[in-house]
Structures are given as C-alpha cells and as structure tokens.
C-alpha cells in the first residue's frame, strides 16, 4: 500500500509551489512518485531517494581521498574551526528553513562571522536598489487576480521558474482576469530569444548590458517626449508602442531577473526599473518583483532583516551588525583574503562563484553542509550531508513575494541523519562551551 500526501510545498525555486502531491510507501520511508511539480521540482524530490546518497560526514585527506567520520566528530571540527577563527565567512542559507537560519545567526553572532546569503550573486543588487529608492510591491496572488500587463525583464521563467507562468503570471484565470492568457499582454526584454519570449506578445531583443538606457527611454516615452531613433538596439517606434501597452493596462507587473542584476550597471539598473514602475503609477497601478531563485533566499533576508537590520552581507566581526556591499560581500572578502575560514550551508559557491573566489575557499579551513556532492564539497575539508529540508523535514520558507509558507515533511530521512537545525544547534552548544559562555 502507498499513501498520497497532498498540498506539498516544493523546495526548489522561489515560486514555492504548494500544490504538489507525493506518493510515499506505507511506512513513510520511501518516496515513490511526485505529481504537479515541474521537472526540476520532481527531480529534487526523487534525488533524495538516490541509492548512492551520502549519509555520514566525511573529512577530506591530504591526498584528496575521503574518510568517514561521525556526526559528533563533525560537530567538534566545525565548532573548533569557527571558534578559533577571527573572521569566518558563513555563507549560503538559501536552501534551508528559517529555523536553521535563526540558529546560524546566533552562531554568527558569538563567533564574529560575516553572514552572507545567495542574494550576493543573485538579487543583492536589487536589495541595494530597494534601500535606495523603495519598491512598489505586491503578492503573486494579486498578480494572478489583477495583472493584465506582465513584463519579464532579463528573466526566463520558462527555464528558471517553470510553473511561475502557469500558476501566477501568464496563464491562470483570476478574479479580475477571467480570460487568462488572452486578457494579458506579455512583454519580454531579453538579449536572447528565450522560450519565455516565445509566449510573449512583444519581445524586445535588447543589446546585452544596455538595460539602463532602455528603461530610461521608456520613462521618456511615457511622457511622449522625443527619443533617438534607436536605443539599446530597439527602434524608437517599438519603445513608444511598449510604453502605450503598459500605460493602457489596469495593473502592470514587472518581473526582473539576473539579466539586469548581473549586467554592468547592476543596482542602478534596478533603481531605474523601480523608477519606471513609479512613473507608471501616474497612469495606472503598477508593481515590480524580483524573481528570487532559491526557495528560501527571501526567508534568510527576512530573518536577518529582523535580527540585524540587513538582508545580506552582514558583518558581525566587530560585535555589532555592519553592512557595506562591496566590502562585506562574500566575493569581495574572499578575493581580498579578508576571512580566515569558510562555512557553507544551503548553497553551492563552488559551482556558482567566480573561480577566483572558489580557489580562495579551497585554501582556507572550510566546512560544507549539503545533502548533495557538489563542487563546494569537493574543495571543502569537511562535508556534512544532512536531511533535505522540505522533503525530510518541514520548516518555514518565504516565497519570492515575501509570503511565508510552511514546508512539509513527506518522508523519513535515512536513519541517523541530522537536519540542518539539529546540527547547527549542537555546534552552537559546543562553541559556547569552548568560549566559556
């Protein structure tokens, strides 16, 4: 016999779909099938069942081989490393629950760490822009029920957030959007003809890196003022047309992604995108939302927001919280050699940081907490596999629109495996002992 668990939350991307169904064996130990998830979400659930999954911590030896150790030894190693560091970097925090993030912050505080999350390579520049000029925001529920003009700027949900378009932004029929797709006009701005662009009414194939110019041109076009013939590779007629489409909507939502946050201009691109949204509010209702990647990167920003006042790049090394992107951000710290150990949980900087930073991690004392084998675990000294959050343990996560959703446990973790939170709590207790607190 099998059981079907309904209303399961997918712990992969910031869309945080909450309508999955998962079939598990009667004893709750095996996960058999996943329904309603996209290909990525389904793979995440199914991979937890992989036979070659690591279930015990391991230490990397001089020659690159691995030696299994117990969780107790791993806790001791981690506690000693953090307690003896002057300025450890504690990075990641996006693929775990808010409960673990809370315990991690406590460790950061007593060890004088720099706490940084994956926003640092994702929407960190958006956070800077929001601090600069604010943000007219809304929830995805409002998008579904009200939005009739949808813009995807430098993001490709068809690949990165596969169910976003069907659940919220393009296809669903909502209270005021009874015609679904037909009632919405979709504009995509992207240097590639992406699969998202293929379902759009308008695709502006912008010259890569010229987002600021085009955003600025839109603001000019809203006012009906003159434009040069071509801006950022787009003829002015198309820009005027797009401006009219936006102004004539009842509710405009602008989603934006890495195309704007990682191209030159960075936070200033987002400043301008927010200014476009603000301008639009003179003609209609408009909101803007970052397409957050990891399922709980938003949550780690929220947790640190209320604990320290800053959503990423929090430097606690002086005994109080400092925040200065460019100085207290992971890649700058690593490249300048300003941290003396690295602790990673819930992210894979080995795969997603520039190589110059990865090399620095490999040269420092390092611990990586991750259910998977990754390029980060390959270069870290200690690898601690843990239970999958959202699969083998529940906990709170924040969707990309800042709505907290409680994830669910659907199967048992392999016997004897610890969760992020349990591991961190033991490390915290041990650090307090070492420090004599």
């Amino acid at each position: 016999m099998t059981k079907t668990v309904t209303d399961v939350v997918c712990p992969f991307c910031g869309t945080l779909c909450d309508d999955l169904e998962v079939v598990v064996s009667d004893d709750g130990k095996q996960l058999l099938e996943v329904y309603n998830a996209c290909a990525i979400g389904a793979e995440k659930f199914l991979h937890s069942q992989a036979e070659d999954r690591l279930t015990r911590p391991r230490l990397q030896q001089e020659d690159g081989s691995w030696k299994d150790v117990t969780y107790d030894e791993a806790i001791e190693y981690t506690a000693q490393m953090l307690a003896s560091s002057t300025k450890p970097l504690m990075y990641g925090w996006s693929s775990t629950n808010c409960e673990a993030q809370g315990v991690g912050s406590e460790i950061g505080e007593i060890t004088g760490a720099v706490m940084d999350n994956t926003a640092t390579v994702c929407h960190g520049t958006s956070l800077i822009a929001v601090q600069d000029i604010g943000i007219p925001h809304c929830t995805l529920g409002e998008v579904k029920n009200r939005a009739d003009r949808v813009v995807f700027w430098g993001c490709n949900p068809a690949h990165a957030h596969p169910r976003h378009m069907s659940r919220y932004s393009i296809f669903p029929r909502g209270f005021f959007t009874g015609k679904g797709h037909k009632g919405r006009k979709v504009i995509v701005i992207d240097p590639r003809k992406t699969d998202t662009a293929n379902v759009a009414d308008v695709h502006l194939q912008i010259e890569q890196g010229r987002d600021y110019e085009l955003l600025d041109a839109l603001r000019v076009a809203f006012k009906g003022l003159p434009l040069p013939d071509v801006v950022a590779g787009i003829p002015k007629e198309q820009i005027y047309e797009a401006a009219e489409v936006l102004k004539s909507g009842r509710f405009v939502i602008i989603f934006f992604g890495m195309g704007v946050t990682q191209s030159l201009g960075k936070n200033h691109n987002i400043d301008e995108a927010i200014a476009v949204t603000r301008d639009l509010n003179e003609y209609t209702k408009a909101a803007i939302m970052p397409m957050r990647g990891h399922y709980n990167v938003t949550g780690s920003g929220a947790v640190w927001g209320w604990q320290f006042g800053f959503p990423f790049a929090v430097d606690l090394s002086r005994g109080f919280a400092r925040y200065n992107p460019g100085e207290t951000t992971s890649n700058d710290l690593l490249r300048r050699g300003e941290v003396d150990s690295v602790f990673v949980l819930g992210s894979d900087p080995g795969a997603h940081f520039p190589f110059s930073s990865v090399k620095k991690i490999s040269e420092l004392p390092s611990v990586c907490i991750d259910p998977h084998q990754t390029p980060t675990t390959a270069v870290c000294k200690l690898h601690v596999p843990v239970a999958f959050v959202g699969v083998e343990i529940g906990g709170c996560a924040y969707r990309m629109d800042n709505v907290p959703i409680e994830t669910r446990k659907v199967v048992e973790a392999p016997e004897g495996m610890m969760t992020d939170e349990e591991f961190l709590e033991k490390v915290l207790v041990r650090i307090k002992e070492i420090k004599g607190e």
Binding site: I40, E43, A50, V121, G259, A313, F353, A378
Partner: protein
C-alpha cells in the same frame, strides 16, 4: 599558422536542463552535458569554421575553459554566446563586483577557438583540478 578564434560577448544563466541535472547530482554526466557547453549562433559556427558539437576553448581576460560548442536553442542572438550557470562559465566570467558585491556574470568578452582534442571535465574534477593548478 595562427589558430582561428572568434570574439563573442558571453552571458550565463539558468536553463531547465541545468536545474534538473543539478538536482540529479553535480557529479553525474548529465550535469556536464547540460552546463559544460557554449551555445553559439549558426553564423558563429560558420565564422569558426567547424561543426556543431565540437569541443572548444573559451578564453577571457580572467581564465579559460574547455566546453562543447552547441547550437543556440534560444536564439539567434548575434554576437552573444551563452554558457549555462555553473563552474564552467565561472572559469571565465568577470569576477569584479565594482563595489556592489555582485560579480559581473553577464557581458564578458571572450574568444572561442576549436579544441578538438580538449576534454570537457566534470564539475567536481574541473574545480578540484583548477584549485590545484592542474588545468589551465
């Protein structure tokens, strides 16, 4: 004879294959097949004078990596090349943050040249070997 190299503007980002294979295990061949590639327009293949699915060396001011050249699935995008986000792309992207904390993952000028006998390493190997200075 000097080897022929073409100049393109490199961007990185997600793809659904990248997401699926990453969750399936970054040590597996599927991840290499999904991310150890560079997507080029047909016009660029012509300029480079080679067929699709040839291994190429991608070099920037910041590093170099061997990946397989494939035809752009979401193109054409003249002058732009695409490597899905991952350790291969991160060998060559511009790591400078210009005081924002954010490396410049998009918009790195690179050169692409044929490397028929070059081997595309898997992600764990690539990072491990590169850290030890065993690959250039």
């Amino acid at each position: 004879m000097k080897k022929l190299a073409i100049k393109v503007n490199l961007i990185t980002g997600r793809s659904i294959q990248q997401g699926v294979s990453m969750e399936g295990g970054k040590e597996k061949p599927a991840y290499t097949a999904a991310c150890g590639i560079i997507e080029l327009d047909p016009a660029e293949f012509k300029r480079l004078g080679t067929y699709r699915n040839t291994n190429v060396r991608v070099t920037s001011e910041y590093g170099s990596v061997i990946v397989k050249a494939v035809e752009a699935t979401q193109g054409p995008h003249p002058g732009v090349a695409y490597i899905p986000m991952g350790p291969w792309a991160n060998m060559v992207i511009n790591p400078n943050t210009y005081s924002t904390g954010m490396p410049t993952f998009k918009g790195t000028p690179v050169e692409v040249e044929i490397a028929k006998n070059g081997q595309v390493l898997d992600s764990l190997d690539l990072v491990r070997k590169a850290c030890r200075g065993e690959v250039v």
